[in-house]
């Protein structure tokens, strides 16, 4: 298929999944903020953490007031409060990380893909776009952010559900799903990384475990995995157990390994020669690495480094996907 189309499909999947996870994360942050744990500062899914997820940089000690860091889409935002952050990340069309921006981009992409995706998928997505424009989002967000995020979650689920029922299991679908899954793994990793405190995790026996219990609960609620966790892990949610659940539990569809496995399956379907494809090979190695980590039960202290390592590797896989499938769409038409 055309490289341009494949790339659009891939990013359609990414944009929609990002919209969903941002909505879940903001809902979680709202809830954690309002319902309170041991104080705003102690909660994993804090507003500052939310900003970090979408790429705002914390000040480096010694140079607190830096100007626009290269690549930071939303510079020096760390002083903002919930009143500003929530609308900015939800409705601000000027902000590319906002939920509505993700949906608008996804819909623009779908417009160029109407011959590839099913009509019902297009209608689901277009209906999503129109619904966001229909009512006064700002007022809705001010009075009840929950209903706004609920709508985003439901509309995303509708799109993926219709896809599952109506789209041919072909290359196009594989790229679309690959985009959705890589974004999911990336977002869950980001949220895990802001939730796990730097340095080593305290043992459960330590006194400070209660605050981490609240963080673990907030994290689970922000990814929507509370009930799955409860049924799968028969212990009180604390950071180590929630961390390994979201990282390793292949039976939970939202976990990192589950997303990676599906990404691998999608790429293997899409690739003409998966056995010599750099992204597929790299992904295979990452999945095997994670399985090794899980089975050898590394000390929990290294969780933070492990997460960073996995995310770096995921970045390389992303780069490999670009190289292998999409860059050809960008090369100059004429050689000079």
């Amino acid at each position: 298929m055309l490289a341009r189309i494949a790339q659009e499909l891939f990013w359609l999947g990414r944009d929609l999944t990002r919209a969903e996870h941002t909505a879940r994360m903001l809902d979680g942050a709202f809830h954690a903020d309002v319902a309170g744990g041991p104080g705003e500062r102690g909660i994993a899914i804090s507003w500052r953490g939310v900003l970090a997820v979408i790429g705002a940089k914390p000040p480096v000690p010694g140079q607190e007031k830096t100007d626009d860091e290269p690549g930071a889409s939303v510079p020096s935002l760390l002083t903002l409060s919930r009143r500003e952050i929530a609308p900015m990340l939800t409705l601000d069309t000027d902000n590319p990380a906002a939920v509505v921006s993700c949906v608008y981009r996804a819909r623009e992409r779908a417009r160029t893909l109407r011959d590839v995706i099913s009509t019902e998928m297009w209608e689901a997505l277009n209906g999503f776009y129109l619904a966001l424009g229909r009512y006064d989002l700002e007022a809705a967000l001010a009075t009840g952010p929950y209903s706004v995020y609920q709508e985003v979650k439901e509309r995303c689920a509708l799109f993926w559900g219709v896809l599952d029922k109506t789209m041919l299991r072909d290359e196009a679908r594989s790229f679309l799903e690959a985009g959705g899954r890589i974004e999911e793994a990336d977002m869950v990793l980001r949220m895990l990384r802001i939730a796990v405190p730097a340095g080593s995790l305290p043992d459960n026996t330590l006194d400070g475990s209660t605050t981490h219990e609240a963080e673990a609960l907030a994290l689970l609620q922000a990814v929507g995995g509370f009930q799955a966790f409860r049924r799968s892990v028969h212990q009180v949610p604390d950071l180590p157990s929630v961390g390994s659940f979201l990282l390793y539990e292949s039976a939970y569809p939202g976990s990192v390994v589950a997303a990676l496995a599906e990404l691998q399956a999608a790429l293997e379907t899409a690739d003409q020669a998966p056995r010599s494809s750099p992204p597929v090979l790299r992904l295979g190695r990452l999945i095997a690495d994670l399985e090794l980590q899980q089975r050898t039960q590394q000390p929990t202290g290294s969780l933070i480094e492990l997460l960073a390592g996995v995310q770096d590797e995921l970045g390389l896989i992303d780069h490999d996907i670009d190289e292998r499938y999409f860059t050809i769409a960008g090369i100059a038409p004429v050689h000079i």
Binding site: A35, G36, K57, T143, G144, A214, R230, D312
Partner: protein, 532 residues
């Protein structure tokens, strides 16, 4: 209502013309009409919302509750049963940390005494021999269970889950109105109310640090595991429901879901060789702790009601053998009987050698002729309750009764005095509550905190505040037109100080930049580079 004192709050506001009924304490508004000092921020936030936004939030609440199935059945005037959204009032009830500390200590003390009483009743009966509680009264309670005589519950804990009903008198002091150590219900509403409040009116929480309640399922699961018979494996805990037709089925399912344990019915359980199992796809699986949500009488047809189809034959045998823990233990009902209630302060002194922290409401047992005569004389001022009923059924409130009702009640009491107790009327405290026109008016409330007794007694901050939605009414049961409120326990600064130092260091890690991709991005880039 007679003798209202009119208290008016200045300005065109939600609480304009707010009236506190005479003799009652208001939890949020002081007698001079100004907010209680700890809720000034809350009242301001409510005023900023105004009646319109509050009513709008109310509509969203009903829609969300209907969608989530948080409903209860009410019989309409035409006798047809309909699902109604659980009536949550959007104005919270607020307790300070100091108030809560007193309640918490008082409840823990009371529960320890009640637990000791249950143990004593089915074993040594020391309290009877000491002449404090008459044995004839204990054995005549319908909830006294002979079959469990001599059975010591695992861990010595009988009253695993308790909910005591507290009321606040006109002087602001707390009294215990009733104990409930059988199967108190309502905790699911505490959690759902908090969740709904954070979703519907997040503005109200601004500036308050409210203690979270969402760790209750963890506390409960820990306690149920702690009392499980010792073994090598992780204990298996189940929630036992009578079935989906039970009024509290929502709560049973809620607790099972939140704890991640199985919700079983009688047909799922089986007892073999005095060990309890559940039927799973992988065969019989041992059950260690049963959190049962049905009455003693139905639990085992071999020992109790033989016609019970909700029970598990042989369960009491397994319980006697110590292979399964049942929470709450069988026979605990003897401790929360309305006639036994009178003796609880004495129990606290007897078992714990402590003075009760929370007082009882003054209660009269009518078996004594002199007391009976005294009560009948003062009937128009007193409250009379049948000892065998629950849920507010048959409660007779003297001051609200007509002359004819008074005469009928007097005859009823005189004919069977041992079936009733009489209590002094407590003017329940009030909290501002939404009315149909969007304004706030004083409505009477009680408070049911929930305690969990495993290795130690843990109490969820706050509890269920039930509110009588009818003006002047003091019957708060939801089956009688009552609603509920979210209950906030505020954190004072002290607890926070300790964690602050550690937490301030927390900086989010530097994450990689978010990527934005696709054809459009690249085309733009190319157009720019191509233009040079």
């Amino acid at each position: 209502m007679n003798g209202h004192k009119l208290v008016t709050v200045s300005g065109e506001t939600l609480i304009d013309g707010y009236t506190i009924p005479a003799g009652s304490w208001d939890e949020l508004i002081r007698a001079d009409g100004s907010p209680q000092p700890h809720v000034t921020g809350l009242i301001e936030a409510l005023e900023r919302l105004g009646p319109g936004a509050l009513q709008e939030a109310g509509r969203r609440r009903d829609a969300i509750f209907m969608q989530q199935g948080i409903t209860f059945e009410v019989a309409g005037t035409d006798g047809e049963r309909r699902d109604r959204p659980f009536p949550l009032d959007l104005v919270p009830r607020v307790l300070t940390a100091q108030e809560w500390t007193v309640i918490k200590r008082g409840l823990a003390q009371r529960i320890r005494a009640l637990n000791a009483f249950v143990d004593d009743v089915y074993h040594a009966r020391e309290i009877v021999r000491a002449g404090i509680v008459p044995w004839s009264l204990i054995v005549s309670r319908p909830s006294f269970q002979r079959p469990v005589h001599g059975i010591r519950a695992p861990g010595g804990v009988y009253t695993h889950i308790c909910g005591c009903d507290l009321v606040r008198a006109g002087d602001g002091s707390w009294r215990v109105l009733e104990d409930n150590v059988r199967t108190p219900s309502g905790i699911s509403y505490v959690l759902e109310n908090r969740l709904a409040m954070t979703r519907l009116v997040p503005e109200l929480f601004a500036g308050h640090r409210v203690r979270p309640v969402n760790n209750y399922p963890s506390l409960l699961l820990d306690a149920l595991r702690a009392v499980a018979p010792a073994g090598n494996e992780t204990p298996t805990v189940v929630v036992w429901t009578p079935g989906p037709l039970n009024g509290a089925y929502f709560e049973h399912a809620f607790l099972a879901r939140e704890m991640g344990v199985e919700l079983v019915e009688a047909s799922d359980l089986v007892v073999r060789d005095a060990v309890c199992y559940m039927r799973t796809t992988a065969g019989l699986q041992r059950v260690h702790t049963i959190y049962r949500r049905l009455d003693d009488d139905f639990i085992d047809p071999l020992e109790f009601r033989p016609d019970s189809v909700l029970g598990v034959p042989g369960l009491v045998r397994a319980y006697r053998a110590g292979t399964v823990a049942i929470a709450n233990a069988i026979g605990t009902g003897v401790a929360d009987d309305k006639a036994i209630y009178h003796y609880v302060p004495e129990m606290i002194r007897f078992y714990l050698t402590e003075e009760p922290i929370l007082e009882n409401v003054k209660t009269y047992l009518l078996s004594d002729e002199k007391v009976l005569k005294y009560v009948l004389e003062r009937l128009p001022e007193l409250v009379v309750k049948p000892t065998a009923e629950s849920g507010g059924k048959g409660v007779f409130i003297g001051p609200h009764a007509s002359k004819q009702e008074l005469e009928e009640e007097a005859l009823l009491i005189a004919s069977q005095p041992e079936r009733f107790i009489a209590q002094e009327l407590v003017h329940l405290s009030t909290v501002p509550t939404e009315t149909s026109d969007g304004r706030l008016a004083a409505r009477h409330v009680d408070l049911r905190p929930f305690a969990v007794f495993g290795e130690e007694i843990r109490i969820v901050p706050g509890g269920l505040t039930r509110v009588a939605l009818k003006e002047g009414s003091m019957i708060v049961n939801s089956s009688q037109g009552g609603g509920s409120k979210d209950t906030w326990v505020l954190d004072d600064g002290e607890v926070l100080e300790a964690t602050q130092a550690e937490v301030d260091i927390r900086q989010p890690p530097r994450l990689p930049d978010v990527r934005y991709g696709g054809w459009q991005g690249q085309a733009q880039q190319q157009q720019q580079t191509g233009g040079n």
